[in-house]
């Protein structure tokens, strides 16, 4: 059996992802997160008299608190398994990746475990976010003043 045949066999035998179902679930869960966010923002603006921009900041704070807590309790992993991008693309995915990396490496100690691995997954978001924002600002400043 050569490599190509082996690849074909692997493809045939590996279980197929239910793509349509995944997509619909991601749409519904992601939309639900957006909807809940809007509800929270409106509650903050009406009940606490916050400005819209501040409410968005508080919303990010609340989502992160919720996601890290649920991950620590052990519920969020199952939800992410089911909802996939519905929970990965919102800020909850960022919080989930930090919290789960920290928990996974807890047994390696405070420094070489938690400290060294806490941004293992979320680090790429921070790195590429900052680098791309840096480059784009430089372009903006150089080209448009």
């Amino acid at each position: 059996m050569n490599k190509d045949e082996y690849q074909k066999l692997v493809k045939k035998l590996s279980p197929k992802e239910p793509k349509l179902r995944n997509a619909i679930i991601a749409f519904l869960v992601g939309g639900f997160v957006g909807f809940i966010g809007e509800v929270i923002v409106n509650i903050l603006m009406e009940s606490f008299g916050l400005a819209r921009v501040d409410s968005y900041a508080w919303l990010a704070f609340i989502l992160i608190l919720f996601a890290t807590f649920m991950t620590a309790v052990g519920k969020f992993d199952n939800w992410v398994q089911k909802a996939k991008c519905g929970l990965i693309i919102p800020t909850t995915g960022f919080a989930h990746s930090v919290q789960s990396a920290a928990l996974d490496y807890k047994r390696d100690g405070l420094i070489t475990g938690i400290g060294a691995n806490v941004f293992k997954l979320a680090g790429s978001v921070i790195l590429y976010g900052i680098v791309s924002a840096f480059i784009l600002i430089v372009i903006k400043v150089v080209l448009y003043g």
């Binding site: 749409f27 957006g34 809007e38 693309i89 960022f94 924002a133």
Partner: protein
């Protein structure tokens, strides 16, 4: 606004899920790309309009992280030059980074990993 938030956040997650299922990219690739796209849309002046139209539907996404980095950095540059550019960039997205670090550290000390 509730419906707009639902539809926008849902469609972005749907697109990402389709990309995830049909390519060999990992969730890490997707979230990083979405962050960069957020910064790019902010650069093109589109992201502010998206937030105005879809409200929290746009700010709950990780793309908002890129948008905040870009707009805070640019505001810093306009205020106090190159030093402001560097010192301000993490200004508004700092809430996400600091809160995630603090919460996950505290929760990690308190809870155990489940296998």
């Amino acid at each position: 606004m509730y419906l707009q938030a639902f539809i926008f956040a849902g469609i972005v997650c749907l697109i990402c899920q389709v990309v995830l299922d049909n390519t060999t990219l990992t969730p890490g690739h997707i979230t990083s790309s979405v962050t960069v796209i957020g910064a790019l849309l902010s650069f093109l002046g589109i992201y502010d309009k998206i937030v105005a139209c879809f409200g929290a539907g746009a700010t709950v996404l990780i793309a908002n992280f890129g948008h905040m980095l870009y707009s805070a950095g640019l505001a810093g540059y306009e205020e106090s030059g190159i030093l402001g550019f560097f010192s301000n960039m993490l200004c508004s997205s700092g809430i996400a980074i600091v809160s995630v670090v603090v919460f996950s550290f505290v929760f990690t000390l308190v809870f155990k990993a489940k296998d």
